[in-house]
């Protein structure tokens, strides 16, 4: 392109008017707090005292031996694992099935996407009801068909609460990930399907030989999005279990909230969030790099 800029050298006052508000707002209320967060992570700031004291890397040293942080990481990872598996493979299967529909496709897709437009608080209240021990629909159903001994306190039993969170999150966002796959499925040229049917390929080999390879870009996207989604689990915990029973469902995000907002250990909370953020960026970079290479091979 000859002249890449519509704005000449003298265009800066106009640029200032156009770009200024966005840069100032975003810089002040998103970037500045993120940077301040790093600065606070080197202090013992409680959030209420006037002067935080500089403590160097003490917070990060404490972090290394923090049993509750380790537990939070373990729980977050176990949830993330389920979420990633479900949103990359479960949604993939659902999308392929939806794509095969010859009618009512819009309605069915609309039904599966619907929970995604609801508030997480709505999803939380519905699941709290379904899984309630005394009055919940799941236990009532089990008792009414004579399987009363299978009834569990799904939300308070440490064995089940992890699946409870997973079910709620999976229900809320399955439609979102499925839609991304559906959009990709629509870009597959019909010639490929026609050639496959001429060669007598069944639905299974159409799936493994045509659809799966063509869907790899979206698998990448969904894998990264689902991982980030899982590691950032936070609001869903606040509105359901509040980290309980005990500390069983405290995710890393919830632990930061608990430290910073409920326990006034903001310096330490900042250290935790900074560590998590670095990990998150690293995960995203590694995943994208790995899958790029995979894509070339396929």
């Amino acid at each position: 392109m000859g002249n890449a800029s519509t704005f000449g050298r003298r265009g800066w006052p106009a640029s200032l008017i156009l770009c200024g508000p966005a840069v100032v707002l975003y810089g002040t209320f998103v970037v500045l707090p993120a940077v301040l967060g790093f600065a606070y992570s080197l202090t013992d700031w409680t959030g209420w005292t006037a002067d935080p004291n500089f403590v160097g890397l003490d917070n990060f040293r404490e972090l290394a031996g923090d049993e509750r942080f380790a537990a939070a990481i373990r729980f977050t990872l176990s949830e993330t694992w389920m979420i990633v598996a479900f949103f990359t493979f479960g949604s993939l299967v659902l999308a392929v099935l939806l794509d095969r529909l010859r009618s009512v496709k819009g309605i069915v897709r609309g039904l599966f996407f619907y929970p995604y437009v609801l508030s997480i608080l709505v999803a939380a209240l519905l699941f709290k009801y379904l899984c309630n021990y005394n009055h919940g629909a799941i236990n009532l159903l089990l008792r009414s068909v004579g399987l009363g001994e299978w009834a569990q306190d799904w939300m308070m039993d440490p064995r089940w609460v992890g699946y409870f969170i997973f079910a709620m999150v999976g229900w809320s966002a399955a439609g979102f990930f499925t839609t991304l796959y559906l959009a990709n499925l629509q870009t597959i040229p019909t010639e490929l399907y026609e050639a496959a049917s001429l060669d007598g390929a069944g639905p299974l080999s159409v799936f493994t030989r045509i659809q799966l390879p063509m869907l790899v870009p979206t698998v990448t996207t969904n894998l990264v999005l689902a991982t980030i989604f899982g590691i950032n689990l936070f609001g869903q915990i606040v509105v359901t279990t509040e980290g309980g029973p005990g500390y069983r469902t405290a995710t890393v995000g919830y632990y930061i909230y608990w430290l910073g907002v409920k326990n006034n250990r903001q310096g330490y909370a900042s250290a935790v969030s900074f560590t998590v953020f670095i990990a998150l960026v690293a995960v995203a970079i590694v995943q994208v790099a790995l899958l790029r290479r995979r894509q070339v091979q396929l």
């Binding site: 508000p21 966005a22 998103v30 819009g106 508030s119 709505v122 009532l140 999005l225 953020f277």
Partner: protein
Amino acid sequence: MSQGRIRLRFGWLEGLMLLAGAVFVSPCLLALLNAVKTNPEIIRDPLALPERWTLDNFKFIFTGMKLARPMLNSLLMCAGVILCLVTIAPMAAYSIMRRKMATGRLLRVFFLIGLTVPFQIIMVPLLKLFRMMDIQFTYVALLLHYVSWGLPLCVFIYSAFMATIPRELEEAAAIDGCGQVSTFWRIVFPLLTPCTITVIIFWGLWIWNDFMQAFIVMGPTRGQLVFVQLWKFLNDQYVRNWNHIFAGVVVLSLPVTVLYVIMQRRFVKGLTAGAVK
């Protein structure tokens, strides 16, 4: 279309998937059914039709939970944030996309970083910042937060869309002596309408549904957004009144649901816009 063709297009897979979809949204249907029943009835049998249809639960939403005012608060907040976003973000995107390569790319990266920052990272210092500015726990603080928080995604969506708009129109306007700012508003902004609709749907829905960020930024203030009010009311209760919970869920999801049914395609497109890079 003849009877036979319809039958041909509706096979076992269609029936099965339709059933699966219905089961998938059944928790919502259950909420709708039980919102018109009394609490003892719900506990006895959630699947039974109500013996006596009652609208008392819905009345309670407004008399007991006092959700009318928070609803207005939420609507006003949606309007305010959207107004700010659809003016500030496209201007920035325009300036970024029509700049010389180096500065434009630098600014793009600057905004892109914002897409990766989770709220938990900035939440604590942000509250401190608001306290220093003496606007802690106010609507101004929440508005500033929502707008700033929404900017990276909006700038990203607008820039991607702007790359598809030809420059000739702007150049013609420039030759006619139209300044850059007025060129943007008169020529470019109208062309961005599809994008603006996406942004309105995405952030309108997001802010109406938001609980977490409003809860943290507004703290213990009395005037609240609608989902925070619902949460606070339910949290103060010792007894679980499922009928009230269901009525609240139904009423607060109703506007969203109606809009979703009317314009499903736009919703799906708008809500997945940020993900496809």
